[in-house]
Each structure stands twice: as structure tokens, then as C-alpha cells.
Symmetry: C2
Subunit: 262 residues, 2 copies
Amino acid sequence: MQARRKPIALLTAKEIFDLVRDDLALVEDELARQTDTAFPAVSEIAAYLLGGGGKRLRPALLLLSARYAGRNDRSAIRLAAVVELLHSATLIHDDVIDSAGTRRGRPSANAKWGNHRSVLTGDWLYMKSFQMALEERNFRILDILIDLTQKMVEGELIQLEKIGRIDVTEEDALRLATYKTACLFSGCARLGAVLGGLGEEEEQALADYGKYAGLAFQLVDDLLDFTASAQQLGKPVLSDLKEGKVTLPLIYAMENCHREAR
Amino acid sequence: MQARRKPIALLTAKEIFDLVRDDLALVEDELARQTDTAFPAVSEIAAYLLGGGGKRLRPALLLLSARYAGRNDRSAIRLAAVVELLHSATLIHDDVIDSAGTRRGRPSANAKWGNHRSVLTGDWLYMKSFQMALEERNFRILDILIDLTQKMVEGELIQLEKIGRIDVTEEDALRLATYKTACLFSGCARLGAVLGGLGEEEEQALADYGKYAGLAFQLVDDLLDFTASAQQLGKPVLSDLKEGKVTLPLIYAMENCHREAR
């Protein structure tokens, strides 16, 4: 007799991941296969980054959305790998950008391999992702992937212009979090819907869910920069603050303190 | 009465460019329009790079090929702009990679704007190119563009591994020139054929023509590093040699000299 299912709202994160645990193992195989290349820089940096204990949130979101939409096949596995590769490519380029020394508790790729190899490996992963996505022969999937990648790049550009400025509004910070993080989460949920051929309304509902999940993720990440230990965080604490990045927790703190304390 | 046409083999470079002069002006408009963005880094770097006196060889090749294939419309203009934007993106990332100080006789983008903005602007131009190409709704065009971009990235990766090594063979150097340069030229000629719906044989002939034109261009460029003045070249002479890049002229020179001279 089958155990009665818990309502989804009561599932723990582990129980949610368990729903797609087998598929996530196949995504890992796909990631390893696609980044095993004749180019040592690419293979080493990709293996290092993909082996760095990422939680595979984005692939999981895509797989869950695709499963809801009735797709649970090679296409879903492949696209789940695509979004993780795109995410990895942006991480590598972001680290070059921030001259970041650590990522997830270890030296960042550019600290180990230099800016040269990191820039090229990021480029290579972008193109590999698009090559894999092209195999679907679906223009909407390509539109979604290229647009969200462009948004992530624009998020980093916006952030770069805001560095060191204290006149960042709540609206600015939310827009930045949307571009940098939530667009990819939203795209993952939307891609599952597109794969399953859902109607416009359900597709938009899933995309919205992904967007707000991404925003929540980014805001918690911003908050942890102030409240967590370096060990929990896998990078130095207050690193956003030291880099001159004004995030939402700081904006709210500043709204609630005297002018002199700012 | 129409003047009798010269056989194509006797045309000068200027006369060849004249065949697509009007279209190239439209390509310039398209390039300016597509890179006029809300992101100052992108607009400034793109305007700087596109205004740097590039000869628009790749757009011209695409336009000539498309015209041969009977296409002389918006699609040809747009794709001609796409290949120039892709070329520009690789130039920007290559300059970050080489820590190059000059490009076409002026400070390189990264020397003026820093690595951060250069990496992101390169990424932005890649995505913009693919967005423009996606408007054609033609999978083969996307396959060609993404594959040749991946090849250019791999060319830079190959070059990076060979830096400072003297055991570079003629075969290595030709492979490198094919990846770095000839693949894009070949792709330009092929895209014209695809736009015009030419048969497989004619498409391949045009792609081959582009490939060999690209190889010739790269070999002349390599040779100029040894024989031209810095003013002619727009960058310091012997810069390849100083960066430890072994190119074909050097390989041939070494084959023709005594062991001690090497």
C-alpha cells in the first residue's frame, strides 16, 4: 500500500529534491560527458567548478517543472544540464570580474587558472550550452535561454555601475536581483512548461514561481553575507559590503538608522 | 550603354568592396543601432571598437556570397552585422586574454575600461548576436554561428597552451589559423549560401573559398608582424614573437636556418 503523500507545501527541501533525485544523477552524467574535452583548461575548470558542491537548484527546478508538465525524458535532462552550464559560465566570468579569490569555500577558477583561461572557459561553456539547446530544435527554448543569459550579463553590468554607490534604492536592488538571479530561476521553470507544451497561463504561473523563488534565494544569500560565518558561507563574510555592493539588507538597515550611523 | 564588366579575378580590393558598398553602409547603421544600449560600458566599448577602422571584411564576404546566391535583403544585412559583432566580441575577450595594450593603433578596450567591463561587454555582444540571428528562425544559421564561435574560442585555447613553446609544427599553426580566423570567414561565405538556399555543392564551394581567404588573411597578418612597421600594423611589431606565439613565418624561418640560430 502506497504511503499517503504529504501536501507539497509541507515537504522539506530534501523531500523536494528526492522527487527528482534519479534525474539529477543523470544530469551529473551529462555535465561530466559534455565538459570532458580535448581542452585541458575547459575540462579542469569545469570539473573543479561542477565538483564544488553546488546544490543544482536550477536543474532541479527545471526537472520539477518539466515533470509537472508531463515531460520526464532526455530533453529535460539535457536542458537541466544546459542551465547548470550557463550558470557555471556566468560564475566563472563573474569571478574574473570581481577578482574574487574564493568561491564556495575554495579558490576561485581565475585564482587557480588565471583570467585568460577563465574567460575562454566561460565562453566555451556558453557555446556548449547553446549547442546542446540547439539539439532540441525549438526556437522558443533558444529565445528563453539567450534572453536570460543576456539578462544575467546585464545584471552584472548594472552591479558594476552601482559599485561603491550608496544611493541604491530598494527598486534598484530588486531589479538587480531579478536580472542576476531570478531570471535564470524563472527561465528554468518556464523551460519545463515549454517542454511539456503547457498553455500560456500555466507557463506564466510557473515562470512567476521561479522568479519569486530566485528573488527569495538571492535575498537570503545577501542576508547571509551579514549573518553567517565564513565557514557556512564558503567565502569571506561581508564580502559584498567590502566590494561596495549595496544589497537589500543594507538598504533596510540604513532606512532604520540615524543619518550619522549611515 | 553599360560598361563591360571586368572578370572578377582582375578586380581590385576596392572594386570588390564597391560591389556591396551600399549594403555595408546599412550594416554600419545596424551595428550602431544594435549597440546603442542603456549600458554605458557596452555602448562605449562597442562604439570605440566598431569605430576603430575595421575593414568589415567578414560582413563584405557574407554580403558578396549572399548576393551571389540571390539574396540582397534585410536578412543579409542583419547577418552581416551579426558576424561583425561576433568578431568584435572575440577581439574584446582576446585582448583581456593577452593583456594587450593596443589594437588597431589605439589602446585596447580592456586598457581603457578594465577587464571587468570588457568581459561583460564581450558576453553582451555574443548574446546580442545570437538574439539577432534567432530572428531569422533558421536552425542551420544558428548551428553555423554557434559552431564557428566555439571554434574561435577553441582556437584561443589552443594558442594559450602553445604559448612559449617552440615545438609548434606547420600542421599546428595551420590548425590554429583555421580555428582562430578561417572558420569565421568560411562561415560568412556559407551563411550567404544558406540564405540564398544554394545546393550542398555550391554551399561547400563558397565555404571553402571563405576558409582559404581566411587562412591567407591570417598568414599575411602573421607575416606583417615581422615585416611591417608599427604604424602600418596599428600595434607593436614582433608582438606575436614577444608573447611567445610561434606562427608560420617563424616555423618556415626555423626550418631554413642552422640549429644554433634557432
